[in-house]
């Protein structure tokens, strides 16, 4: 039930943002992310953006996994 999908912020209007995922757009509340910007990726749960997804951390995680698995070759 705690599922939250990463969506891209397209438009911000007050405490609402239009977010896009898989070619579809929705309006969600951004009360919990006051500093969110257009272009950011946010996790959306129950119609509310609950956290920003940090792309640099995603890349770091993938790099770490690659370097870990390199060790077994």
């Amino acid at each position: 039930m705690c599922i939250a999908l990463p969506m891209r912020v397209e438009v911000i209007d007050g405490n609402m943002a239009s977010v896009e995922h898989g070619g579809m757009s929705w309006w969600v509340r951004i009360d919990f992310l006051p500093d969110v910007r257009v272009g950011d990726y946010v996790l959306v749960h129950a119609g509310i953006a609950i956290e920003r997804v940090r792309p640099e951390c995603a890349e770091d995680t993938i790099s770490t996994i690659r370097s870990l698995t390199d060790d077994i070759h």
Partner: protein, 372 residues
């Protein structure tokens, strides 16, 4: 940009599984505590990829599963009052109470609306001023701030016909409860990613410091889960008990302070009953006194009945990781997703439902989305 393909890389997944096999020198039991992890592990066939000495069990991470029957009974009783609209997440519709479910009651004429967001139920209240609207507040820390926001919204609109029946639960006290149970033998917790976006990684500090059990907060893609398991196995093998965050792209140490502030302005911590586990101290949320006008529990009529439970159902021991779904005497026979006896079978995120649907790797008949 969402990195979904990168976190589903087959080759890297197999290699992470090989690393887990190389690292684990002895049998160990690890528990995941998130219905979304339960589903992802089953759907991606991750247990089939792990060495036989690594046992992954599903804890009480499905909020639908741990909602007590008595609260479902109360919610249905509220709906029977005149001029009442019930609003709920769809997950609750089929969950059996003592005698009925919301789905059956809606078929019999109760006005039950399925909503995607608690804010949708505020809209229903605004559009139906002659009715009372009660939202069933289920969910962990991921969901509770959204419910608190709905309450603040209703207050700012001046609504006096909007109510919440709070069944919210908190994850860290449940982990402490499991960690202190002498029957359980959990050597590591795979902690829930989205609960942790709200509460932050430091919320698990008592689990590592007081109970010496490693905690790893993991994301929900196959590589996230496999790396999280590898991090837990490494801690166990190296004798460490630390909080580590695999899901660093969404989880900080302190969580979402705006969401926590909203949550704490409306609710306060209280003892709560977990279906199958009993009362866990300081593990639930109740309204603060200044918001008591929104509390639907004060509308619940005096009980003229006793809630009851199915004695054959083994969900309680399954939620503690003491039994696997297939150990339950009624699993797959009297208890199926079409005719569930217990909560772990009725919710799609329940351990029994996931096992029934995706158990092909161990002889079941589900449709596993195997990536390997």
């Amino acid at each position: 940009m969402t990195y979904i393909d990168a976190f589903r890389d087959k080759r890297l997944g197999k290699e992470l599984a090989r690393l887990i096999e190389l690292k684990a020198t002895r049998p160990m039991t690890l528990m995941e505590v998130c219905g979304t992890h339960t589903m992802a592990i089953a759907r991606h066939g991750i247990k089939g990829l792990l060495p036989p000495n690594i046992k992954i069990v599903s804890g009480p991470g499905c909020p639908v599963c741990v909602t007590p029957q008595s609260l479902i009974d109360s919610f249905i009783e509220l709906g029977k009052q005149s001029g009442m609209i019930l609003a709920t997440f769809g997950d609750m519709m089929r969950v059996p109470g003592s005698w009925s479910s919301l789905e059956l009651e809606r078929a019999s004429g109760l006005d039950v609306r399925v909503v995607y967001s608690p804010l949708d139920s505020v809209k229903i209240a605004r559009e139906n001023p002659e009715k009372k609207v009660v939202f069933f507040g289920i969910g962990f820390e991921t969901t509770a701030p959204a419910v608190a926001l709905a309450v603040l919204e209703a207050r700012s609109m001046g609504l006096d016909n909007f109510f919440i029946l709070s069944a919210h639960k908190l994850i860290p006290p449940a982990l402490e409860f499991l960690a202190s149970d002498s029957e359980t033998n959990i050597e590591g917790f795979l902690c829930p990613g989205h609960v942790s976006t709200i509460i932050g990684s430091l919320a698990y500090s008592r689990i590592t410091s007081d109970y010496g059990i490693p905690c790893v907060i993991a994301g929900f893609e196959p590589l996230d889960i496999l790396q999280g398991i590898l991090m837990l196995v490494s801690q166990v093998e190296e004798g460490r008990a630390e909080i580590e965050t695999q899901y660093s792209r969404a989880v900080s140490q302190t969580g979402n302070l705006e969401a926590l502030s909203c949550l704490n302005s409306v609710f306060q911590v209280t003892d709560a009953e977990w279906r199958g586990l009993g009362v866990i101290p300081q593990s639930g949320l109740e309204f603060k006194s200044e918001f008591s006008k929104f509390d639907a529990s004060r509308l619940v009529p005096e009980r003229s009945f006793e809630s009851r439970r199915n004695v054959q159902c083994a969900c309680g021991r399954i939620l503690k990781g003491l039994l696997s779904p297939t150990d339950c005497p009624v699993f797959g026979s009297e208890c199926t997703p079409a005719r569930p006896l217990g909560p772990c079978m009725v919710s799609s995120e329940g351990a029994c439902s996931a096992e029934y649907r995706y158990g092909r790797l161990r002889g079941g008949s589900g449709d596993v989305d195997i990536l390997w």
